[in-house]
Subunit: 348 residues, 3 copies
Amino acid sequence: MQVSFSPEEIIGIVGPRTTRGRAGKLITGIASLEAAGPGDLSFLGNVKYRTQVAACGASVILLPSDYADEPPDGQMYLLVENPSVALAQICARVEALLWPRPVPGIHASAVIGPGAKIAATATVGPLCVVEAGAEVGEHAHLQAQVFVGRGARVGDHCWLMPGVMVAAECELGRRVRLQPGVVVGSDGFGYEFTNGHHEKVPQVGNVILGDDVEIGANTTLDRARFSQTVVGEGTKIDNLVQIAHNVVIGRHCILCAQVGISGSVTIGDYAVLGGQAGVAGHITIGKGAKIGGGAAVTSTVPPGGFVNGSPAMPYMLERRIVVLKQRLPDLFRRVDAIEERLEKSSAS
Amino acid sequence: MQVSFSPEEIIGIVGPRTTRGRAGKLITGIASLEAAGPGDLSFLGNVKYRTQVAACGASVILLPSDYADEPPDGQMYLLVENPSVALAQICARVEALLWPRPVPGIHASAVIGPGAKIAATATVGPLCVVEAGAEVGEHAHLQAQVFVGRGARVGDHCWLMPGVMVAAECELGRRVRLQPGVVVGSDGFGYEFTNGHHEKVPQVGNVILGDDVEIGANTTLDRARFSQTVVGEGTKIDNLVQIAHNVVIGRHCILCAQVGISGSVTIGDYAVLGGQAGVAGHITIGKGAKIGGGAAVTSTVPPGGFVNGSPAMPYMLERRIVVLKQRLPDLFRRVDAIEERLEKSSAS
Amino acid sequence: MQVSFSPEEIIGIVGPRTTRGRAGKLITGIASLEAAGPGDLSFLGNVKYRTQVAACGASVILLPSDYADEPPDGQMYLLVENPSVALAQICARVEALLWPRPVPGIHASAVIGPGAKIAATATVGPLCVVEAGAEVGEHAHLQAQVFVGRGARVGDHCWLMPGVMVAAECELGRRVRLQPGVVVGSDGFGYEFTNGHHEKVPQVGNVILGDDVEIGANTTLDRARFSQTVVGEGTKIDNLVQIAHNVVIGRHCILCAQVGISGSVTIGDYAVLGGQAGVAGHITIGKGAKIGGGAAVTSTVPPGGFVNGSPAMPYMLERRIVVLKQRLPDLFRRVDAIEERLEKSSAS
């Protein structure tokens, strides 16, 4: 991690109410209270870790302003209103160093098709391909080895990381951030079985990503059979997720890693899907619904619903069944005993 | 979606038996009856949606020839023998626009190794790498940023989309279509535990894909330990699927997204595996077998078998157990009641 | 598979105690006893397949030195101490042909940023990008179309296959082998829900891979929120695995394909995770623990523990419950019968 701040710079960033003690060292890392050592900055983000502060080896610790104790020699306490917010301020500074603003322009090694429109403020990095008729918006950043297909549109301030592939005719809103290896617009998986083989059903729709959508590494989104596969504004999708053709995902949803959404599923705004969950085709998931990790959703989930398990059922029922399942050995024994008792009583 | 047809062009493509009404607008989209608006083409593909036709806002609707009503002003009905077939004809036309036939030749930015044989009719797009001794067949299309390793063979009319990687010595039949990011021929996952660490077992086989195989985005297929990992003719594999070393998949199978097939599994012709299913190592899945979505197959599935659940069991049994599992709270209550009753009766 | 050895060369490689018979043909393949035909080498690796030797069509068969029978005409037996070891010796020879040692140097088409340090003995293949300040160690091999981000470090003797992406500031030890499409250092999936939308939490840590780590195709490893995501020395990870931010994996672990590890999970040395297993956030998995394929781990697993199922529970309990679950239809019938009997007896 590219961190290098003097204690004074840290003070400058977070503006503490009070400082106690002195840190001798340059801050070159950020770590939890338990893991931190000299040269690290740490923080008390949750009151339940309060007892860890005294033993923490960090050079600088961000603490809530009501923290009473004094630091040992060589350690500095910065008392702030909200240590988590102060940490975020420092991380934002580190982030700016980690990802410096790219210089606009098209790298000499990039290959740009005829009629592609690339904004003057956009950056097209090394070894990118932008096919004919594609558009790349203001301040957009194709980092390296990115592919943007014919007629595709990349909105203003988008950031496409290395190896991202956006197929023909797909459309990205503004500030869309695609992690490395994301595929937008692969063919939907549609075949008709005829004469002993699977005949491809043409997949001629596209994919539309709303503003502020973020998508994780190596996730795949299929183009619609016709019309659109849609991801709504502000929705965040994690790594290795599969979004099939004609799926329509609402705004501000969360899809955790390795989720799989089958064709023509509709997901309402603010839904949250845990990791490795799967949703069968043509299902509707209501607004604000929650799907547990690994759940297999095979029927409609109402707005605000919370389902879990495989197949998915209402969360409280599923939790209860999980407990009862673990008591099955006991239940079988009990029924054995009852039967035995009844045998005996009928024999007597 | 790149659609732009006049109503007359639509008529020319589908050759309707009868037309009714007039569409004022250019057709620029295709949508379901429910979603369509002015400028869209829609269709009645399934008789159960018949009641949606009257309220549909599409400019042109494909209908079965026995459809009796008249369209409102500005809407045109095209009566055809089979609306789904007519739609497919239009989609095929759109597909040709979406994916125009590539111009043969090797892009100046591609890197071709010594002794690679590339057919004169093949297209090797920008920033592709074809290593030494590899062969690319007639009319094959390496779209962009594709990698074909040393000694690998890509058959006639194959289409490798951006970012596809075919490792050394692997062989693709004719008309193989690989979506973006597919990896063919990564090392099998084989180690021998010795002296406290995992020693790599050399993986020196290859991967062979039959004619007309299609593989989805970011799917991975491992090379065999020795001999071959095989995918039979006409088999279709969806996105993010894992095929381990020495797997042999038959002809005309369907593997849905995120399926995982462990090493040395054999799958018969015409088998169908639902999304997120997993198959343990060295298992045989019979011809025409069906594996439910999310199923965990841990033992042989006979030809024509249908299994579901985790661990997988025959479908009907699994469905029954799912229902009974949901009645466990009730069953526990019933056994409680029986025991109580017996206690009372023995006490009395 | 690139195999072409005369029987004499095979003898030279394995140094048999005894040879019996003569093989007329060049050896051009390796196959199991069941699958082998003329031109193939086969081997008796496991005594349980002994009866398959007589019917095996291979030209050369590696056999244990106590094997008594004579080969038919045109077949040669090589009697060795350990046929599996002898096979490994041959495979190692094939491997050297499959993956010849790369020629050091930087390909003319590679794009190298300012201040990047690439060892003189390293190979940077065609169309790679090495950003500013990155370091590539002695004998390291970036095969083709590889991305190494700003300030990242690739250790000596690493091998990064086509399409591998190592994001800024990540660090690879020595002899790390990354299969095609691996992503190291994508953003962790962290958001804070505020004012109706998900605000990104900066992810400014990195990923550190220890010596001899191997990672499978299209697997993704997220950078830490701050500090490090760590994979310990000698750990092997299969294809399409997801490693979230701040995960710490010990040394010499095995993670099979499509495993998903949520954020801040800690995994001890020598742990083994079966395919498609999932681990919930902030869980600790003890040293040497085993997690069954498809298991959903939702609580701590002690050192040496073995869990299975969804949610995961101790292996023996889970096996028992699987069996009892399949007997549920019978259990419901038994309880029905008991109730009926009690009704009758109370009625009488």
